[in-house]
Structure formats: C-alpha cells, structure tokens
C-alpha cells in the first residue's frame, strides 16, 4: 500500500509539472506561421475527389486544387474560360466544342489534354467505364444531358448533348465539372479522394483525419504561382470553438460566422468581416393540393403576414437579405430588378385571408432543426408562427431532424402538412424552378414540387429558357417567370443568405464569391 501511495504522490507531482510546463512554454499558443493561411472549416471533408462530393464545405478546398473547363468570373455567376480557352456552341444547342489551354500539366506531372477531359466525364457518366467504381458520383446528374464526349484532337474536345440544355456551361463551372488527373485515378483507384491531383494553384500535400488538410503552392501553375506558400484547412465543427480559435489566433480565416458573433469581430480592428449574398433562397413551401392554401389569396396573405425584415434583422442579425421572389439576386444577369418583396402588412393579410374563406382551421408547419442552407430554422419557424397567429392563423409546428425532414417533405406535403421550410443553393437560375415549380416536377414524377404548384405558362417558359442558347433571351424568360411566380405565391419568399467570413487584418486580397466558393489564388498574408 505504501507503494500505491507513493505512486499516487508521484502522479500528482507529474501532473503538476506538466501543467506548469505547458503553461510556461506556450505564452502565445496559437500564432500561425507567416505566409501560411489557416482556414477554419465547418466539417471534415468527405473526399477530395470533386466528382464524389456534394458539400460546399468540401468545394472550398477543391476549388483551389482543381480547375474546370470554365469558371465563374470574379464576383459574378457568369461563365468565363479556365482550362478551355474558348468554345463554340452549335446552332441547335446540342454540340459544344472546347479549345483547350496548351502546356498545362496536372500536379502529378501528367499532361492535361482532350483525352483527360474525356476520361473525366466517362468515369462519372458511363457505368461500363473501368473506373466508374471509384465513385459514387452523386451529382453526376448535372451532366445527364451529355450523350458523348469526343476527342477532336490533342487540344480540342466536343460534348454532344441529347437535347439543348442551356445550364450546361454553368454546370461545367461547378465543382462536379472540375478536371481530375486520369493518371492519379488510375494509380490510386478508390483512394483517389485521399490522393488528389488537379491543375489548380495549390497542390495537395497532407491530410490527417479530422485534424487538417494541407495544400501547397503549385510553383508550375500556368497562371503564375500564388502568393501563399500553403493553406491549412482545419475542420472545427463546433461554432463556438471556431470562434475561440479565431479570437485566440489559431486560425486566420473562417467562414459562416454565427450571426451573434459578427458584431464582436466587426468592432475589433484586428479582424475584417466579409459579406457576399449568394445564390440561395429560403422559403416556405405551401401545400396547394388541399387545405387553405389552395386559394391564392391565402398564400399571398402568408407572404404579407410574415415580418421578413424582423427575421432578417433580429433572428438572422443582418446575415441575410429579404427575398423578393424565387430567384436569388446573386444571379444578376437573370434577376428581375422590378420585383419588390411582399411588404409586411398584417391588415392586408387579414383581408386576403377573409377573402380566401379561411375559418381558423389548424395549419401544420414542418420545421427542421438544421440542415444545409437552412440558417436558423427553429427560430425562424417560431417567428413565422407568431406572425401568422397575429393575423388569426392557428399554426402548429412539427420539428424534425434534417434527414427525417427531407424524407417527409420531398415526397410531397399531401396528407401531412400545409407548409414546410426549405432552402436551396444552386449554380444556375434554371435549377431551382425547373426542379420545384413545374407541373412535371411533382414528387410522384421524381421532382421536388412538394407543394404541387402548376402553371402552364411557367412550364413553357422554363422549357424555352433551357433550350435557348441566347443568354439575353434566357434572362428575359427567367425575369418573366419570376413575376408570375411572385404573383401566384406558391411559396412564401423569406430570405437570401449572405455568406460571411472573418479574417485577420493581415490577410489581403481576399474576396467572397457569389458562388460561395473560397478562392485563395490571389490571397496573401503579411
């Protein structure tokens, strides 16, 4: 027993020594190294294979390691050349021929050429391709229209589509269109996602599970090497911990700052806050098949009744803007500037409700606890419930975990609920209305029209816009669609999320993009 007590005392002394030593040794525990940017991410990436992932969080790393044939030009959602120098579209809109940039190599040294491009799309789309099992490729449907990819010569490649599909170019600018090194896929097979190789400004260096992903400057980058020596992406899932790391100097840059903390950073000269509205819309799906929302007046009443300014300013503390219609203003080229958000007008709402013949029946409202792009869904749901109660609507909230929520909402609201929260983030003005507002996109036909909206005019416009190869014509069609949908009010339009980021003042030339991608090519750290 004496031995035990001695061990006990020894252990105590040891702990005390460690405690003192660690405190003494690390007065500035978290200084980040010069010219290396440490980024606080919201989660561990699933994979660094751009064709295998779906999360914006993963895209933030990928966009710095890989490039696509095209990309969004700085500060917009308009497409410009990247790995392709130019392209031509056939008159019927089904043949796209790209001329590729010459002299580009992947990080593993293999050449970028037309064969590499063909390999990428064959791997993703063709179930007989020997490397198709290196997936799965959940977003391959972005390129469902692609029938064939043909190598014309070393630096020319043609895509044949099975029908005119205008969003094709902006889908190529999306991470699912990034080009990976065929040699690396052949070498690593299903482990390619942990051994990535692209053509981007940074090359992959190291990935320690749940601790860090490191990318280093690509000195051979065709557009000149980036100023930063390396970027370290750290997954920090807990928002409070992310804030603590930022405040104590452990990270240089973080995205998705919780609304409560934005003011704290804004007041501190050691930090800079960045904001950028994105292609995001937060809305309520209204069930038009049964119950009170069959009446347009009742749907408009909900739009008038919700105090969107209070939600955006108080619940979301300025991290979002009021949405006017189904298309986010970030799609500047296709956005209808004439559209005004429904004003907050409870009196008008009451009138409309009466006109609709609403007699106080219970409204079931699906709310989720959290989920991609859902912002602060519980607080927003309760605020909306209170606004609707003020005009005499009896709203019962049912709350579900995100996956369960999707499982209930996606098959349609019939027999379950009268309204449901929803948010989408897309890369083309076509995507959201095409998947959620067409008659042919009803849930039983494999679409997401969970509220059963149907308007022949909207159906026709969306088909026309998809087939048009003239951007001007497409834009006009989308503007017209927004006007009709705004008036029909199949949704209550609530908010467009502004992405935010905070960086140390030393971080220079950083800019958030409307695409929500994180581009670090030109960023420097003093």
């Amino acid at each position: 027993m004496r031995g035990f007590m001695r061990a006990l005392k020894g252990a105590l002394a040891g702990i005390a020594v460690v405690g003192v030593a660690t405190m003494g040794a690390q007065p500035a525990a978290a200084q980040t190294p010069p010219n290396v940017l440490i980024v606080g991410q919201i989660a561990e990436p699933k994979s660094l294979d751009p064709h295998a992932v779906t999360a914006v969080n993963d895209f933030r790393i990928l966009m710095n390691v890989y490039e696509g044939l095209v990309r969004y030009s700085d500060g917009t959602l308009e497409v410009e050349p990247a790995l392709a120098e130019s392209w031509e579209v056939s008159d019927d809109g089904t043949e796209y021929t790209f001329t590729l940039r010459e002299g580009v190599t992947f990080h593993d040294g293999s050449p970028f050429n037309a064969d590499a491009v063909k390999f990428n799309f064959d791997r993703m789309l063709n179930e007989d391709n020997p490397y198709h099992d290196t997936g799965p490729f959940p977003l391959a449907f972005y390129f469902d229209a692609v029938e064939e990819v043909t190598v014309e010569d070393e630096h020319m490649v043609a895509f044949t589509l099975n029908e005119p599909y205008a969003p094709f170019l902006s889908n190529l600018a999306y991470p699912t269109g990034l080009i990976v090194s065929p040699a690396a896929v052949e070498e690593h097979g299903e482990d390619f996602g942990r051994n990535p190789s692209g053509t981007g400004p940074f090359r992959f260096a190291d990935w320690v599970s749940n601790q860090r992903v490191v990318v280093e400057r690509n000195t051979d980058y065709w557009d000149g090497p980036p100023p930063l020596e390396a970027v370290v992406f750290r997954p920090i899932t807990d928002a409070n911990t992310r804030i603590a790391e930022m405040l104590s100097g452990g990270i240089d840059l973080m995205v998705e700052v919780p609304p409560d903390n934005v003011a704290q950073f804004a007041e501190d000269p050691a930090f800079t806050i960045y904001e950028q509205a994105g292609p995001h819309v937060w809305f309520l799906i209204l069930n038009m098949k049964e119950g009170p929302f069959q009446e347009k007046a009742a749907r408009q009443a909900v739009n008038y009744a919700i105090n969107k300014e209070a939600i955006v300013e108080n619940v979301l503390q300025g991290t979002a803007e009021i949405a006017a219609g189904p298309t986010p203003p970030a799609f500047a080229w296709a956005y209808n500037e004439q559209l005004e958000p429904y004003p907050y007008d409870p009196d008008r709402a009451r009138e409309l409700l009466e006109e609709a013949g609403y007699d106080g029946e219970e409204i079931v409202f699906y709310v989720t606890e959290g989920g991609s792009g859902m912002l602060d869904p519980v607080a927003m749901g309760t605020a909306i419930q209170a606004d609707l109660a003020a005009i005499g609507m009896d709203v019962t909230i049912e709350t579900y975990e995100w996956n369960t929520f999707l499982d209930r909402v996606n098959p349609g609201l019939e027999g379950k609920a009268d309204m449901a929260e929803m948010a989408w983030m897309t890369n083309d003005p076509d995507t959201l209305p095409y998947l959620t507002l067409r008659t042919e996109a009803m849930p039983d036909e494999g679409g997401f029209n969970s509220g059963y909206y149907s308007n022949v005019e909207v159906d026709t416009i969306l088909e026309q816009a998809r087939q048009s190869t003239e951007p001007e014509e497409r834009a006009a069609l989308y503007r017209q669609m927004q006007e009709i949908v705004h008036e029909d009010a199949p949704w209550a339009f609530v908010a467009n999320w502004k992405q935010n980021a905070v960086a140390k003042a030393e971080v220079q030339n950083f800019q958030l993009q409307p695409s929500f991608f994180l581009l670090l090519k030109d960023v420097a750290k003093q």
Binding site: M1, L8, V18, T22, T404
Partner: protein, 315 residues
Amino acid sequence: MLAYFLKRIVLAVPVLWGLTVIVFLIMAMIPGDPATAILGSYATPENVERLNRQLGLDRTLPEQYFIWLGNLLQGDFGRSYSLNRPVLNEVLERFNATLILAGASLLLCTVFGLLAGIVSAVRQFGWTDRIVTFFVLIGISMPSFWLGLLLILVFAVNLQWLPPSGMYAVYGGGDLADLLTHLLLPAVTLAVVATGVIARLTRASMLEVLRQDYIRTARAKGLSERRVIYRHAFKAALVGVIPVIGIQAGFVLGGAVYIETVFQWPGIGRMLVQAISTRDLLLVQGGVLVVAASYVLFNLLADMAQHALDPRLKS
C-alpha cells in the same frame, strides 16, 4: 479464477454480436437513408436509386447484414462511404485519440477522486470535509460542455496559455509536449464529474470501514493514525471503489462525445455522431463494436483488480 475470466470473455462474444444486430436494426429503422443524406435537396427517386446501386444498398437488409458479418469475420470492417476510406483505419485512428483523452482523464479523476474522498472521510464534518464536499457537489452538477467552453474562454481566449482545440498544432508541433498542451483542458473537463463521483464513493466507503472493529483494534495496538488510515482502512475501502472506477471508465468514454465536440478532439465519439447523422451504417457498426468491446474489457479489468485486492473473493 482463470476459468471464470475466460468464461466472461467468451460470454462477451454473444453480447457484441447482439449489439451489431441492434445497431443494424436501429440504423435501418431511423428515417432517412445514406443516399438522401448525401444528395440533400437533390434526392430525387432516380438519383437515390442510382446512388444506392453504386453504394451496394440496393440489396435486401438481411443480405446487407450477412455480407457485412461475413467480411467482419475475415477482419474486413468494410468501407465508410461518408469518409471514403476503410472503416477500420478510421476507427482505430479515432479510438486511439479517445483512449489518450479518456486515459488521461481517468488518471486525473482516480487520483483526485480518491484523494478528496480520503481527506473528506478522515476529517468528517470538519471544515476540510465541508469544503471538499462543496467542490465535489459542484463538480458533479456541472454540465461538462459548459465547463469546457468556460475553460476555453479563460485559458485559450483571454490568457492565451493553451490552445482552444485540436490534438496537435496544425503546423509544426506533433511531439509529446504539443500533445500535452492540447490534452490538458479537455482531460480536466472530462474528469470533473467522474472525480466527484469517485470522491463521494471513496468518502462513504472509508467512513464505513473506519467504524469497523479492526480499525479500533489497529488504533488500540498503538499504530500511527497515518498507518491506520492508509494501510488498514484505505485498502479495504478501495475494494468497494474499484468497480465504480471501472464504470467511470465507460462514463468517460461516453462523455467524450461532448468534450470531443467542444475541443475538436479527433476521437471516436465525434466520429460516431457524424456517422449517425450521415447514416453511415458501416462506420457506426465499426465504431460501436470497438467502443463496446473496450467497455466490456474495462469492466473485466476492474473485476480482476477487485479480485486481486479482496481476499474474500480469492477462494
């Protein structure tokens, strides 16, 4: 006695097997499936079906289970689709991190718990006892994630003595000192509740022993108070405390889920939470299996220690 422990180990096998069946059934029953979790808003029936085919989830449930079990018996835990790597690699890496954290806090709570319990019992109703009991009560009642945030605020954000999160420095670092600096805050946070539990139990157990006749005899023999307490009373009291330390080992492993989230410790608790929310069945199975096996093992070790200390059990 050896036969008894062998039997315990053999009995653990059906327990673990039953556990895999339960985990499988629960994961099959909860709403939402991997394909929906991956596709999010894009989960059309068509896309879900295509993805399920690629993931091998288009087979029937019993088929999926027996394929998994067959592979497991050959040492293959399968591949995690949400992390895109073999389950076993991930689980071992993460379990290792949890063991370091749980081991450190088990050491802390055992040392401080026993010490506080003894001091408290010896000075029963004295000021020392009252002060220790007061802190023990606070320790037991404190929500550990909240304490964790508080410690981060004080020691990492304000004083900047210790890093707020992670296991190693992101750039450079990687040695033992680096690990210990990162370990201190989460280990202390995780140890607080268990320290309280062990302290209370040690106190009660000591008090009971101190009233025994043989203690009076020992004192009557003229032994020093120190010798009476440590040599005679503490050893007997320890027998009652050890199984509780075994249970605390399980508690510390379980409690690691919160602490790992607050401190971004790359352990298995956080891995399981992520695996469940992405409906990554194989990863959940692998993780639960390893945690459960270690829980069984810790309790067995505690029982063995008790056997070794308690002469009455030796027969």
